[in-house]
Every structure is written in structure tokens, then in C-alpha cells.
Symmetry: C2
Subunit: 338 residues, 2 copies
DNA sequence: TTTCGTTTTGACACCGGTTTCCTTTTTCGC
DNA sequence: GCGAAAAAGGAAACCGGTGTCAAAACGAAA
């Protein structure tokens, strides 16, 4: 069985079983028009020989392959990796495989690179992670090239068939409600980079909730970041310099929230006694920083699984949700003000 | 050029150019025995039609494909992602693609899963990240299946042709030297899980250096972890309970070092004034935790690139080193013992 | 111009599957 | 037990490339 020679082919199976290769092909593909006895005979030989169909030959004959691509430029490694795991959950025990492709959003040749990639590899389809998933040119490229795609997004970026989303906006509103209920009135926001849908959604959620509670949002309570640690550090410094000082900060992701921790520490502002901080993403740093940080977690792995199924088995995945609830993870970075 | 119909094939090119498909094949493969005029003619048609060879067909005809796999179970997401980027550096602009496969070391079916994976996908070869790279059964499986492989390891796990390594042991010795030079005498070690080569190497480096300096290592200065945050937390608690207390802790990775930070903070032990901490890996948490942590960084991306080249172009990569120097990244978690 | 030795090029089989279409076998009603 | 319909199985072509080997074209020498 574990012969180390060349792998057995469909011809070997056919010869040994005394049938035609077409019949073997029927067995592999579970064709119903096959006598039970024949199927059993062939299956026995397949097992004996340890035969596995050659995916390249199959791909050639079927004119489609079984590779699905992951396009990402997400700065959060854990997010990307969780996503990969979720996709694997979906395609485990299928003939699909996942090929990854980090992209550089800032490269002017990005679209051309991706076009070459898609042309060369002839992928079955691609999954696109935020923030690059917000690039409409990329989606257009996929459509133009006849390549299936599913985008992960925080809002209606595309038709439902191409989208798996979470409800960032509502969750951010929930965070604000939570902080307000604890007594916070002056709440600062560290925004994500402008032009990013997710940043926009989170900002809008924040503003809507503040407005709903009748709370002011002076310009000094809004600071811009770029989703990186350092930018959170700078933004928090700006926020903490203004008087009267904010008693709570919501950062649009955990990296920036961690940066805010550093800024607070440097100024001798104690978290959470003097300043509450809430992040977004529930990345590992949230649990590992001191004090452990409250944050908003979204079910990346489940979303990834849904996205992958949407791509490879659109029928079976119709039952699955394409919108997923984020949830507040409360740890120790939030307290009553004062 | 950007027709959206079915992609042009080698036959289309041959027909339009008025040559045989074999000639087109020669052009694609840069065969030297071709008249310049013919080559130009064919290349013109290729450009006009926007032809790209079908990788599945090529794979079938050549009896090898252009997929390289990444097997990993590393808990550090950033490490894995950096590695992926490094591999991409190596295979960018080639026809190779990277397919990822997270594995579960604790699953009893792991080896069978991987065997199925290799059998199904017929990969050109695989790259194996630690800690799973230390599994000799896995390497044996690759050999048995005739699948190329390169392991990342901290010591002589395998023949050179299958290995890319860093010099963990020496670096750990360097860390100890550094701490001793600052005046530390009672240094604790948080070990990685037993059975792991990397954990072993780091431990041996630690013990060797302590011995060289004539310093004792009482059992209470050795604590076992499993590379996870929580285990580092527990281990540090053990270390810090013993009297006389250690003045410095070296943790075998950053996650555990971060756990040690938490333990110290809970006990009111100030880092670095009362306790110096050094980690290993230079993962993002090292820079983001407070105070920023000194740690040992290894050039993952370069190593990944070297590993990938070793797999896909063993000749050209002979010039590259297969042993890479780690380096001490000094931040603010180390001070003279107080 | 012919001849001969080199290049260049092409015809054809093949890689390992699937599809089409047709033949053989089985099943079953009468 | 017969004939027809249905089911099962096979031959050959095809998917889009590459390898082999012989034929064609070329160029220099005779």
C-alpha cells in the first residue's frame, strides 16, 4: 500500500480492477449509475493501491481548479491567521487548498500584481480581507477576470453573494452605551485611517451613539490614527492634552488602544482608574497588556468559514448567516470615571 | 487583449502565429534553439492575445506542480505571517504559489491528516515551521512520500539540505552574559515545553552560560512553561515566590515573558527596577507591552526566503546561508539589579 | 549547383483525468 | 421465453501543456 514508486493512476486502478478508466472515474465521482458490485470491486482496488486522483489532471479536465486564494493586507497577524484557520475549517476534507497572498496596498503596481497572480494561478476564487476588501477596483478586477470572490466587510460594499459582514457600527454604539451607563460623559475616539470603510463605520457608530445620548463631541475628542500602534500613541497624547480631559477613550482597533495605554502610562494617567480604554478586534494584545483590555471581538473564524463556503458551495451556504454579531469582551480597562 | 472569453491556449497562439504548439512551448520555456525571428513573432502574438500558460496543464505534463506548502502550528501569529511573507519574497514572480496548512499537534490523527493533504495536493514540497518542524515522524513521512521539505530548526535536526536554522543557543548565552555584566547573579529561566528542541536549546544555552560564569542555578530558578502566556504567568509566580528572589528572568519566548510581566505587576514588583525580564522572538507584544521588552529577535523573513529557495531552487540557494544569527533587541525591561 | 552537417521546426504520443456517444448487459412486463 | 426499455460499461476524443524524434530549412564547403 505504501509503495514508494510513482503514484498509481486511474489507469492502474482500471487495469487491476478489470474495468475501464471511465468506470473508475464514475466511482470516484460517486456517479449513481453504477452497479453496487462494480463499485465495491473498484473501491477495493483503490484502497489496495492507495490511489488518489491527481488534482492537476482533474483541474485540467474540469477546466477549473481547486485553489482558493486569500488576499490580505491586514496589519493584525492574529486576525489573518484566525481567518486562515476558519477557511481551513470550511475546506478541510475537500479537495480545495488555500493559497495565500499578502498584498501591499501602497504599491502602485498592486492591481497589476494581483492580476498577474490571478491569471497565472487560475484560482477558483479569492477571499478578500479588510482593509483591502474595501477596494472596489479589486472587486472589479475579479469580476472582469471571471474569478469568484467574497469580501469581508463592515458594510454593504457589494451584493450579498460577494459579502460577509459584521455589524461594527452597532457594536461601537453598544460600547458607547456601556461607557455612558458607567457615567462617562467626555469620551474620546481614536479613528482609523480615513478612506477605510471600517474606520468610517466605527466613527459613525460612535458619533450616532454620542448624539443619541445628547453628548457633545468636540473636535478635541476626535483623533486620527492609522490602525498602527504608534498612531494610537500619538492620537491618545493629543486626546489627553485637551482640557477638560476625556475620561474614556474608544480606539478603533486594539493596536491603537495599546498605544493609548502607553501614552497614558507616560503621563502618569492610570488605567482604568483615571482613564477607561476600549479597543476593537480582541486581538491577543488585548488580553496580554496590563491591565487586560476590554474590547470588541468579532467571530473571525466563523466569518471566514462562511466566506469560504459561500465561495465553494454557494448553495449549501445559503443557510448560513452572512452577517455576524460582534460582542463586547469586558476585561479590566474600564471603570467608572473619577 | 482583455477579452473576457475563455483564456487563450497554446493552440490559439500557435494558430495565430502560424507555428506549431511545440514552438510556442519553446518560446515560453526560453529554449535557446530558436531563431530570433520566430521567437519575436510568437512573442508578439502572445502579447496580443494576453496568453498565459495554464499551470495545471503544465503541472500535469511535467509531472510536478508548483505549489509549496507551509505546515505550521506556531502559536505566534506574527511569526507565522512573517514567514509567509518571506516565502512570498522568494517565489514572487515565479509560477510557484504558497498553500498554507495549520496543523494541530495534539490531534492523534495529525500525521494521517498531513499524509492525506500531501497525497491529495501533490505538493512540490513543504516548509515546516517550529515547533512542529521538530517532529521527526513528519520529516520521515515527507521522505516516504517523496515530497521535498525544508525544516526550520534551532539545531541539527536533519541534513543540511533540509534545514534552515538559527543559533538560539548562542544567543541565549549572549543574553545571560549581558545580564551578568549588568550585575545580575540570581537569574531565573522560564523554559519551553519539554520535548521541544527549541526549548531544549534555549535551556542548554542558559545553563551553559550560567555555569561558565560560575553561577548557581538552584531548582527554584527553573520553571517550566508551554510557550503560552498563562504558563509564563504561572511560572513567573513560582520563580518570584522563592527566596532569595531572582533579579532577572529569561523567558524562552515573548508570550511567556509577557505573562511574567503580569505576575510581577500583580505582586507589585516593578519592571525593570526590581526585576529584569528578557524574552525571545521579538514578537509584536514585546514592543507593545509596558515597559517595552528586551528580547531576542531572529530574522524570520530572511530565513523563510532562504528556506523557500532551498526548496525550489537548491542550486541558486547554495550561496545563501542556512544558519542565521539571532540578535538581541534591547528595550526597557532590563536594568541593573536594584 | 550539389552535398553535407547544423540548426530549427513540427508531428505525434503522452501526462491523468473527464466527456460524449455508443454498445453491451440487465431487468422486467407480457 | 421474448423483446424492449433501462441501466451499465467502454472506446475514443479532449483538456493544455511537454518530450521524442524525425523532417525541413539553412549555411558553408565542394
Amino acid at each position: 500500500m505504501a509503495k514508494s514508486g510513482p503514484a498509481p493512476t486511474i489507469n492502474d486502478v482500471a487495469r487491476v480492477a478489470g474495468v475501464s478508466k471511465k468506470t473508475v472515474s464514475r466511482v470516484i465521482n460517486r456517479s449513481p449509475l453504477l452497479r453496487e458490485a462494480t463499485r465495491a470491486k473498484v473501491e477495493k482496488v483503490i484502497a489496495e493501491l492507495g490511489y488518489t486522483p491527481n488534482p492537476q489532471a482533474r483541474a485540467l479536465a474540469l477546466r477549473r481548479n481547486f485553489l482558493i486564494g486569500l488576499l490580505h493586507d491586514n496589519p493584525n497577524a492574529q486576525t489573518v491567521l484566525n481567518f486562515q484557520e476558519g477557511v481551513l475549517d470550511a475546506i478541510r476534507d475537500t479537495e480545495f487548498a488555500l493559497v495565500v497572498r499578502p498584498v501591499d496596498r501602497h504599491s502602485p503596481a498592486m492591481l497589476d500584481d494581483i492580476r498577474n497572480f490571478l491569471e497565472q494561478q487560475r484560482l477558483y476564487g479569492v477571499l478578500i480581507l479588510p482593509p483591502i476588501s474595501e477596494n472596489d477596483d479589486l472587486a472589479a478586477l475579479c469580476r472582469e477576470m471571471g474569478c469568484g470572490y467574497v469580501r469581508m466587510g463592515s458594510a454593504a460594499l457589494d451584493e450579498a453573494e460577494h459579502l460577509v459582514q459584521s455589524n461594527d457600527r452597532e457594536m461601537v454604539e453598544g460600547v458607547v452605551d456601556y461607557l455612558v451607563k458607567l457615567g462617562h460623559r467626555r469620551i474620546g475616539l481614536i479613528e482609523g485611517p480615513s478612506g477605510f470603510r471600517s474606520a468610517f463605520e466605527r466613527r459613525e457608530g460612535f458619533l450616532a451613539a454620542m448624539h443619541r445620548h445628547g453628548l457633545e463631541v468636540p473636535p478635541a475628542a476626535l483623533a486620527q490614527g492609522n490602525y498602527r500602534f504608534d498612531s494610537g500613541h500619538r492620537a491618545a497624547n493629543d486626546l489627553l492634552s485637551a482640557e477638560p480631559r476625556v475620561t474614556a477613550i474608544f480606539a478603533s482597533n486594539d493596536e491603537m488602544a495599546a498605544g493609548a495605554y502607553h501614552a497614558a502610562r507616560e503621563r502618569g494617567v492610570e488605567v482604568p482608574r483615571q482613564l477607561s480604554i476600549v479597543g476593537f478586534d480582541d486581538s491577543p494584545i488585548a488580553a496580554h497588556i496590563w491591565p487586560p483590555m476590554s474590547t470588541v471581538g468579532w467571530p473571525i473564524r466563523e466569518m471566514a468559514k462562511a466566506a469560504a463556503l459561500k465561495l465553494v458551495a454557494p448553495d449549501s451556504s445559503e443557510a448560513l448567516p452572512s452577517s455576524f454579531p460582534a460582542r463586547l469582551v469586558t476585561r479590566n480597562s474600564v471603570a467608572e470615571p473619577g
